[in-house]
Amino acid sequence: MTDLSATKPSRFTILANPTRFLELSGRLQPWLYAAALAALSVGLTLGFMAPPDYQQGATVQIMFIHVPFAWLSMMVWTVMSLSALGTLVWRHPLADVAVKAAAPIGAVFTALALITGSIWGRPMWGTWWVWDARLTSVFVLFLMYLGLIALTRALDDPGKSARAAAILVLVGFVNIPIIKFSVDWWNTLHQSASVIRADGPAMPAVFLTPLLLSALGFTLLFFALHLTAMRSEVLRRRVAALSRLAARRADG
């Protein structure tokens, strides 16, 4: 590798060479985890000290995790969609690695958004679940995550599923705006946006600060986990490639 790092590495070579990627990501990784844990601990502590909401009472505590999970479930799919473009346009293997590694993490965040939402819905709406537009579209997102996981894992040849997975991701992206705007397009039980909206957040700072901090923390956590998963995926492909070389090496 010394010869490679001697020449000035352009952005292209960094991403083009798995060994280089492993090296750089290995250096970045600890910092990401540390930042994520810091933001999370501050955010959630502030959240615990927040006063009960006049409408939602103490259950407002659930907001500090529910909302970040919900945001992340959409963000992860968006990240995968960008990577999918990378697969289809540039045919870059790293893009496919990113999609494959992100899918299980996204699925967990979506599941958590569903679960925490459900738990919150019981005291607030008196039911665990309704089939309204927002909830249903998130559930469909969850199913699409699972389908994508099944697809990316079904083939033992990583290169083969890449394009199919990328197309599935892009098709599924249609669902993201539906989730985001479902509360505006259909009238649902779920409340409409109060943070990310055109005229600025409508939420007191006691709630807003911890919410944003924990959202930041979970986002960093996602990126950290994603990086680790991508590294294992790169290694998995290296193992497969070496195995094939070994197959051809077997004496004829």
Partner: protein, 232 residues
């Protein structure tokens, strides 16, 4: 007649993103036969599937010139003027031999022998009405080789065509190939046994470079690994 010319330049073949062999350089004309040999795992099947258009080459080009495609235009790619016979027979077991061949005749188009004549040519006269599943391994192979005759194509790409054939059928099939070559066609065949062709050209696939390296010291070079991993 002998206008057919196949040119392969800088062709690197592989599975997925793994390089298997190459770069290969080759030129083949009408009336010429190419025999691909090499030990198990050398990449013979991979090469033939690439030529047939079933695998994307990792690098390089395959060009053809001098013949017409079945649709009357000058041919632009090898697959449209070639027959591919792989390890699998591409016949439906529950359908009769005749119906199977009739379907392929309609699907492939172009001029060719009738079903009965082509079955006769491979030594299966009068078996058109039997379900394909009821033939023995060698008979199945022969019925599948009859597809070569039922729709004319200048190039035959054959992967171990004589695998299950008895000696008489091997000789008969050698005759069919000779006729095809005499009429200006060409044959590209992978094989472990002699095919009975007169003075074919031979492409001996070397064991992959990694294999040589392995024999020399057991280590795999970074370049090989990079090729195998298939990153940019």
């Amino acid at each position: 007649m002998s206008g057919l010319a196949i040119t392969i330049s800088g062709l690197t073949i592989g599975r997925g993103s793994t390089t298997v062999a190459g770069p290969l350089e080759l030129a083949l004309g009408g009336g010429e036969a190419l025999i691909v040999t090499g030990p198990n795992g050398a990449g013979k099947s991979t090469l033939l599937r690439t030529l047939a258009g079933l695998l994307r080459p990792l690098a390089g080009r395959i060009t053809v010139a001098g013949v017409m495609a079945p649709d009357g235009e000058p041919a632009r790619s090898l697959p449209e003027i070639a027959h591919y016979v792989g390890h699998r027979n591409a016949m439906k077991p529950s359908v009769s031999v005749g119906d199977n061949l009739r379907f392929w005749a309609r699907f492939l188009g172009g001029p060719g022998l009738s079903v009965d004549d082509s079955l006769e040519a491979v030594g299966l006269p009068g078996l058109a009405h039997l379900p394909f599943a009821y033939l023995s391994a060698g008979q199945q192979r022969r019925a599948s080789l009859a597809r070569l005759l039922i729709a004319h194509r200048p190039v035959w790409i054959l992967d171990e065509p004589t695998a299950a054939l008895d000696t008489a059928s091997q000789a008969r099939f050698a005759g069919l190939m000779a006729d095809h070559l005499a009429s200006g066609g060409s044959v590209i065949a992978a094989t472990h046994q002699p095919l009975g062709l007169v003075a074919p050209r031979e492409l001996a696939m070397a064991p992959a470079p990694a294999e040589q390296a392995a024999k020399q010291g057991g280590a795999i070079a970074d370049a090989d690994l990079a090729a195998a991993e298939g990153w940019l």
